[in-house]
Symmetry: C2
Subunit: 294 residues, 2 copies
């Protein structure tokens, strides 16, 4: 029999602090849904809403987000393979509607891609086995030369080859950077991998990866002045994206008001105006493989 199973995705909300009339401003401290890096105390987003009665007048609400140069989780080397030259120790991150994006340019947020992975978790790869990254990407240790301190790594997506590299760890750890032309930019690093060791296990040759960083570089979000995201219109794009509300917004009783996709305001079912911003997220949710009739 044909068997198809859906597992419902889970949707959850993260809200910000509670507001009423007057002007209220939320940054990372007041809105737990905004992107925030605790280790470096970094955030990029700000929302300000001025309410008169129950009205947010046209072009008075603003949402701003600014590129932040943030450090990688992994301890990647510079272009020369060491940290000494100071290159490539940060990357330009920007929160947009509480999601993490990377700007293709350090000072112009007009082209963004999603950050898929940024981790210093330790993985031990056996020869031939694939490590699933995110977004369909996989990393495979094709061959591991323990005596020569080398590992041949391959990056693929949905089973298709993208790039490979022989990485030499004779001098200790080594960084593999993969760069491509993306959007208007040339030679953008879109994948970084830190290999810290190769060694002989009891049965297999093994390679240790302790840093991975990956962009969803085939899906570019372009942002320019006058673009509209729901109720929000882009005012300017520099290293900061500034948006305002293109029309009047009425904070009616007991409503969920969409500012942009997944980015909303919820008002109380009360004669006194009370509301908070929230973001909606979905996690999980899979379709099990169809099984053919036997």
């Amino acid at each position: 029999a044909l068997v198809k199973e859906y597992t419902d995705a889970g949707t959850y909300e993260v809200r910000g602090s509670i507001a009423g009339t007057g002007t209220t401003t939320w940054t990372t401290n007041e809105f737990a849904g905004f992107w925030y890096d605790l280790d470096d105390n970094e955030g990029s987003e700000e929302l300000a809403i001025p309410v008169s009665g129950t009205t947010v007048a046209e072009e008075t609400m603003f949402y701003n987000t600014t590129i932040v140069q943030t450090s990688y989780e992994g301890d990647f080397g510079g272009e020369a393979g060491t940290n000494a030259d100071g290159d490539n120790i940060t990357f330009p991150i920007i929160g947009l509607f509480a999601e993490e994006y990377v700007s293709l340019d350090d000072e112009d947020a007009g082209e963004l891609v999603k950050l898929l992975l940024d981790t210093d978790d330790k993985y031990t790869l056996r020869t031939g086995s694939a490590l699933e990254l995110a977004g369909g990407y996989e990393l495979t240790a094709k061959q591991i030369d323990v005596e020569g301190d080398k590992v041949w790594m391959e990056l693929s997506k949905d089973g298709e080859f993208i790039e490979d590299e022989v990485i030499d760890v004779t001098d200790g750890e080594a960084t593999w950077d993969y760069d491509v032309d993306v959007g208007d930019q040339s030679d953008v690093i879109v994948f970084r991998c830190l290999i810290t060791d190769v060694f002989q296990g009891q049965v297999d040759s093994l390679a240790v990866v302790e840093g991975l960083w990956l962009l969803d570089y085939e899906d570019i979000m372009e942002i320019e002045s006058s673009d509209e995201f729901g109720e929000l219109e882009v005012d300017s794009v520099t290293d900061t994206i500034s948006m305002f509300n293109s029309g009047t917004i009425t904070l009616s009783r007991d409503k969920e008001i969409t500012l942009a996709e997944g980015f909303m305001l919820k008002t109380a079912d009360d004669s006194t105006l009370r509301y908070y911003p929230f973001v909606e997220r979905t996690i999980g949710g899979t379709v099990a493989e169809e099984e053919e009739e036997e």
Copy 2:
């Protein structure tokens, strides 16, 4: 072939405002993970942490939560079937580690049960069809007498009968209350159902439900002085549950410190102390039925 599929549950975190040394207090406005009712502007939880250096001295941190009489989502009638007598228009809710519980006693939070359902969503039931509630409970309209303005309702759990009732809506909407002895309390209302209409559809007789409220009354959490929840010890239980840290807590760098199950502090990977509280939640996650070998 035997086929067993696991779908990974999704885990997400909701954090509070960011803190450092000194004393910081979080209530619903500073901690989006705490239980909060926007419509009635109600919350019950408070966390205060005094930090000296990186140390939270023994018995200096407190977590308090107080019973709140909150209104039902549904417009249930009182015992006499109307709202005029003012009975049963609120119930005693209490957040505990950011989860919603109901106290079995209005003024003593020593016995708590989980709130499974509180909704004024509208459901139309056909004769014989079961409405799945939560926790395995189901509501079935066994028979609908349109001419007599009556509906025979049955509450069951995991397919087993619990209680039934013939509800008369001749005078408009009617409330069905189911009460049982729970823990130390007699005649506790554990299920409420508001039936607003019965009518003849084109094919089926139909009943409209516009209020449902259900407690997980077979699973009682008892709380008394000296009970320990992780790092937290109960100091007193009245209409307020007061807890303090039973031992010294050290806010070491780059750690997740569990205060109680699902209730944690995360510290920054930085020489400057910076931390926030967060709660961990799981949604989704199922095991598909095993299929027998054919």
